[in-house]
Symmetry: C2
């Protein structure tokens, strides 16, 4: 398998965590988002949406979209599982993952931020306000969700697809100035995540394309 990604991309970071939790080895090819490599003809053949990550597999076109890739990894390598036992708990883990992937991250990603700056004239103050609206509201809702579902991790006592999304979201939120100090449960869970070797291996700072 070959993972196309970028060290600081939230969605790539999610997939790296899932790969590491499952102990799956892979090649890594950096796609330099700052240089626009995601819009090159070659990369668009891999992922028509021009986003990272993409996962090249032996049979067929590369897989895209982090949520779909993590479900694929769960299917081909069920143990250790990144979905809890029990259909309702699995739904809760997938719901937290989807809240982050659908209701928080899209508003924060660099493409969205750059578009709002260049095409809609957002200055720094407007951007801070924007980032502290939907992304922050969503994280507040995740804080409320985990009050129902968490043990040591977002749902129960093992890391799941929800935690694969939470750690990158906490990283991105801190980076972009989203006010997350109040989210005590999310901080506690995130610290437990970051203490695990799989999360350490997957961390942006430990990727080959991270600045030295």
């Amino acid at each position: 398998m070959k993972l196309f990604g970028y060290w600081r991309s939230s969605a790539t970071y999610r997939v790296r965590i899932a790969l590491a939790l499952k102990g799956i080895d892979y090649e890594y090819e950096a796609v330099d988002l700052l240089a626009g490599a995601q819009r090159s003809d070659a990369y668009l053949k891999t992922n028509p949406l021009g986003l990272v990550p993409a996962l090249e597999i032996d049979d067929g076109p590369a897989l895209v979209q982090s949520l779909a890739i993590m479900e694929y990894l769960e299917e081909i390598r069920p143990e250790p599982s990144i979905l809890p036992g029990g259909a309702a708990d699995r739904a809760a883990a997938r719901a937290i993952a989807a809240m982050i992937a659908c209701e928080a991250q899209p508003f924060m990603n660099i493409g969205t931020q750059n578009y709002l700056k260049t095409e809609h004239g957002f200055d720094d103050a407007a951007m801070v306000k924007w980032l502290n609206h939907a992304p922050r509201d969503t994280m507040a809702a995740v804080e409320a969700m985990v009050a129902r579902t968490a043990g040591d991790f977002c749902v129960g006592d093992a890391p799941s697809i929800a935690d694969c999304c939470l750690a990158p979201q906490m990283f991105a939120a801190a980076r972009f100035g989203v006010e997350i100090a109040d989210f005590k449960r999310l901080h506690e869970i995130n610290e437990r995540c970051l203490a695990l070797p799989a999360f350490e291996k997957a961390h942006p700072k430990n990727q080959p394309d991270a600045p030295a």
Copy 2:
């Protein structure tokens, strides 16, 4: 089961299609988004994020997030399946669903549009430009994806979770003036979807809270 939803909500519409494809009976409780019912104390206990849909089940808190709810329905009622056979095809169906749910719809939803209008001064021209950026680009990428994966439907010859997301996305795109005339494959697939009784039953116009 009781589905909390809104007739014109894309995410509710997705779940209604999945329920109808699987022949699952359910109660329906309308949450009037225009009246702000999604932010009532009672509803926030059901869904802390204040979004529709939510699916009340017999055991435990209501399920939230359309992608997670559809996966839950697939687990408790596997037939007819809304995931194709084969891990790579399932990944493709989930990827198309995620593209729509993460990279198109969030930028179009009423909450986002209202926020951009009231807090960031978007006028009609700015909104049309906004809606024809990320949502349209994403639909162009879905058009490219289905060129690889489609038979009669988005992935192969049976409706899947991808089609559960596509039909509501086409409905919303038309409603909000996203330029989709060029997406010939998506139109063809959508027409096949709309001809199925399950999609007809789930259509916004056929819901109890739709205007007469």
